[in-house]
C-alpha cells in the first residue's frame, strides 16, 4: 500500500513517542505556522560554543510534522553547528525531491524515512515546519550572540 511509503514505522514511532518535546531554556525562540493547515510550532534553540546544545519545542500538528520535529531533535542535538546545518540542508533537499532523491542514510539517519512524504506536495510543508523553524531560531540565536 502506497500509504506505507509515507507513514513509515519510524515516523509513526516518533509521532507516538516524540523525542525532546516540551519547551526548555534557549537562546532564541521562534513561532512558525503552516497557513495551509494551521499547524503551529514554537521552537527554542540553545547553542553552546559551536554546538547545538538543545532544541526544544511545543506545538500542534499532524503525525508528519510531529515526527519530523522529534527526528530533528534526535539528529541535531549535540552536533557541531556546521554538521547540523548540513543535515538541515540535506533534509530540505530530500523533501523537495518529489520522491526522486536517494537519501544518504549516513547523513540523515532516521530522517530518511521522510523520503516517501516528499511525493505528497501537501505534506512536504508539514515535514519542513520544524526544520525551517530551527533554521530561523538558530540564525536568531547567532545574531543575538553577536550583538551581545
Amino acid at each position: 500500500m502506497k500509504l506505507d511509503s509515507m507513514y513509515q514505522d519510524i515516523i509513526l514511532d516518533h509521532y507516538k513517542n516524540p523525542h525532546g518535546k516540551g519547551l526548555r531554556d534557549g537562546d532564541a525562540e521562534v513561532h512558525h505556522v503552516n497557513p495551509t493547515c494551521g499547524d503551529e510550532i514554537t521552537l527554542r534553540v540553545r547553542l553552546d560554543g559551536g554546538k547545538v546544545a538543545d532544541v526544544s519545542y511545543e506545538g500542534q500538528g499532524c503525525s508528519i510534522s510531529q515526527a519530523s520535529a522529534s527526528v530533528l531533535n534526535e539528529l541535531l542535538v549535540g552536533r557541531e553547528l556546521d554538521d547540523a546545518v548540513r543535515i538541515q540542508e540535506a533534509f530540505l533537499e530530500l523533501m523537495q525531491s518529489k520522491g526522486q532523491a536517494e537519501p544518504d542514510e549516513d547523513v540523515l539517519e532516521d530522517a530518511v524515512a521522510f523520503a516517501g512524504v516528499s511525493k505528497y506536495p501537501a505534506r512536504v510543508k508539514c515535514a519542513l515546519l520544524s526544520w525551517m523553524a530551527w533554521k530561523d531560531a538558530t540564525a536568531k540565536a547567532l545574531s543575538e550572540k553577536e550583538t551581545a
Binding site: 493547515c37 494551521g38 503551529e40
Partner: protein, 422 residues
C-alpha cells in the same frame, strides 16, 4: 458497505445524475473509485455546463457590449442571458441587481469597499460599527477587518454556542444604533449551521443597518430567494454550484446600487470618460470593470438551468436525507466528535468532526488513499477552530450526487484510519 436503496426518504436518482458528472467516474490510487466528499470546497461540473462553455468558445466567443458584429451580439446575448437566469434563480426583483464578480470573496470585498467610499447615510467611518459572526469564512472576515482598519470603524461579532449555533442572546447589544452593516453567512461552511436570518434582519432593520448575506453555501443547496431574505446584499460563488471557477455573484438592492460609488474602474463600467473626469454606467455595469468573465457567466447560467431542472427543493431534500444518515452513521464511530450541530435539523450538508487525537491531516491522508476526498484544516474559518479549542477538523460535505453508499465508504474509511493510527 451497506447500500440502503430507497430506505432514505427524498433521495434523488443519483445513478442518473452521476452520469452527468464525468469526474465522478474517475479512479484514484490504483483502482479506488473516487468518493468526492469535498463539495463545500467546490462542486463538480456536469457535462451540460462544460458543453455550454465549449459551445461558447467554439461558436460565439467575442467581447461583449459595444460590438455590432454577429459574434459580439451573440456573446452579449449569452452573457446578459446568464444574468437573467441568475436573477430568476434568486428571485431578484430586477436583472440589473445581479452583478457578476470573480467569486464570492470579490462580491464581499465589493460591498465593504462601496461602504467605505460611500457618502452618508451609508458611509462606514470611525463613529460606526460593523457586525459579523465568529463562524464566518475568512472571506467574510478579512474584508471587514480591512475596512475597520482603514476607516476606524469598530468590528464586532456574534459568538457561538457549544452546539455550533450563533449566540444571539445579546443581539441588542451587538447590533446597536451605531451599526452600519451586519454581514453573516446563511450556512456555515465549516459546521453546516443554518443561521436564523429573520431575527438578525429584524434587529438590523430596527437600527437602520444594511444586511449582507453570504450565501456561498446556500445558493448551491437550497431555494435562495433574495426578496424573502430581506437582505440588502447577497453574495455567492459559481464554482460551488456546478458552475465554472472564476465567476461569483453579488445581488444588491437597486436603490443601493444606484447610490453607492463604484469599486473597480475601467472599461465597461463607464458612461463617458475624459481625462479629467468620468461618469459611470448604471448598475450592474457600474460594478463590472473590464472584460467580464463571459464564458464563466454563460457556464453559471447553464449550471443554474441544470440545478433548476432537478429542482432546488428536491436537492435540499436529498441532501437533508444524506446528512441525516451521515450524522447517524458518524455517531457510530468511536472517538468521533462532531463540531457543529449534532443533528440534521437546520443544518446544511457539511459535517466537520475530530477523531480522537488523530490529526485531521492524517485522517484525510488515509481516507484519500482509499479514494475518499474530504477536506482537512481550518476550512478558512480559523476562528471556529479557536473557539472549540481544536487545531483543525476533517470535513465531509455532500451534494446532489452524493449517495448513502458514499457515507458508508466514509465510515468504513474512518475505521481504517483508527486502526492505522491505533
Amino acid at each position: 458497505m451497506t447500500q440502503l436503496p430507497g430506505l432514505l426518504p427524498g433521495l434523488l436518482d443519483t445513478e442518473a445524475i452521476r452520469k452527468d458528472f464525468p469526474v465522478l467516474d474517475r479512479q484514484v490510487h490504483e483502482g479506488h473509485k473516487l468518493v468526492y466528499l469535498d463539495n463545500a470546497a467546490t462542486s463538480q461540473k456536469p457535462r451540460q455546463v462544460l458543453d455550454a462553455l465549449n459551445e461558447y468558445y467554439e461558436r460565439h466567443n467575442a467581447n461583449v457590449h459595444r460590438g455590432v458584429h454577429v459574434l459580439a451580439e451573440e456573446a452579449t446575448a449569452l452573457y446578459e442571458g446568464a444574468r437573467d437566469k441568475v436573477a430568476a434563480f434568486v428571485n431578484a426583483p430586477s436583472r440589473d441587481e445581479v452583478i457578476f464578480t470573480k467569486n464570492a470573496s470579490e462580491s464581499l470585498n465589493l460591498v465593504a469597499n462601496m461602504l467605505g467610499w460611500a457618502d452618508e447615510p451609508y458611509r462606514v467611518d470611525r463613529d460606526t460599527e460593523i457586525v459579523i459572526t465568529e463562524m464566518e469564512h475568512h472571506s467574510n472576515i478579512v474584508p471587514w477587518q480591512l475596512l475597520a482598519q482603514r476607516t476606524g470603524a469598530q468590528l464586532k461579532w456574534f459568538g457561538l454556542t457549544d452546539e455550533g449555533r450563533l449566540d444571539l442572546s445579546e443581539i441588542d447589544r451587538v447590533i446597536t444604533e451605531r451599526t452600519k452593516v451586519v454581514s453573516f453567512t446563511l450556512v456555515s461552511n465549516i459546521m453546516g449551521t443554518v443561521n436564523p436570518v429573520e431575527q438578525i434582519v429584524r434587529r438590523a432593520q430596527e437600527v437602520g443597518a444594511l444586511v449582507v448575506v453570504d450565501a456561498s453555501q446556500a445558493a448551491p443547496h437550497m431555494v435562495l430567494d433574495v426578496q424573502a431574505l430581506q437582505a440588502d446584499f447577497v453574495a455567492f460563488t459559481g464554482h460551488k454550484m456546478c458552475g465554472p471557477t472564476g465567476i461569483g455573484v453579488l445581488w444588491g438592492r437597486q436603490e443601493l446600487l444606484e447610490d453607492l460609488p463604484p469599486f473597480l474602474g475601467g472599461g465597461e463600467m463607464i458612461e463617458t470618460v475624459s481625462m479629467s473626469s468620468s461618469t459611470y454606467a448604471p448598475a450592474p455595469h457600474k460594478f463590472e470593470a473590464g472584460t467580464p468573465p463571459i464564458a464563466q457567466a454563460v457556464g453559471l447560467g447553464a449550471a443554474v438551468d441544470y440545478l433548476t431542472s432537478i429542482g432546488m427543493e428536491r436537492i435540499a431534500r436529498h441532501e437533508h436525507a444524506i446528512t441525516e444518515y451521515a450524522v447517524r452513521r458518524l455517531k457510530e464511530v468511536p472517538d468521533l466528535r462532531i463540531i457543529g450541530p449534532a443533528t440534521a435539523e437546520d443544518r446544511g450538508a457539511a459535517i466537520s468532526f475530530t477523531l480522537g487525537d488523530i490529526h485531521p491531516h492524517d485522517v484525510g491522508q488515509v481516507l484519500d488513499e482509499q479514494g475518499i476526498a474530504v477536506r482537512v484544516g481550518h476550512h478558512c474559518a480559523r476562528p471556529v477552530c479557536l473557539r472549540y479549542g481544536i487545531p483543525a477538523t476533517t470535513r465531509a460535505s455532500f451534494y446532489l450526487y452524493s449517495t448513502p453508499a458514499e457515507v458508508d465508504a466514509l465510515v468504513d474509511g474512518l475505521e481504517h484510519v483508527r486502526n492505522f493510527f491505533g
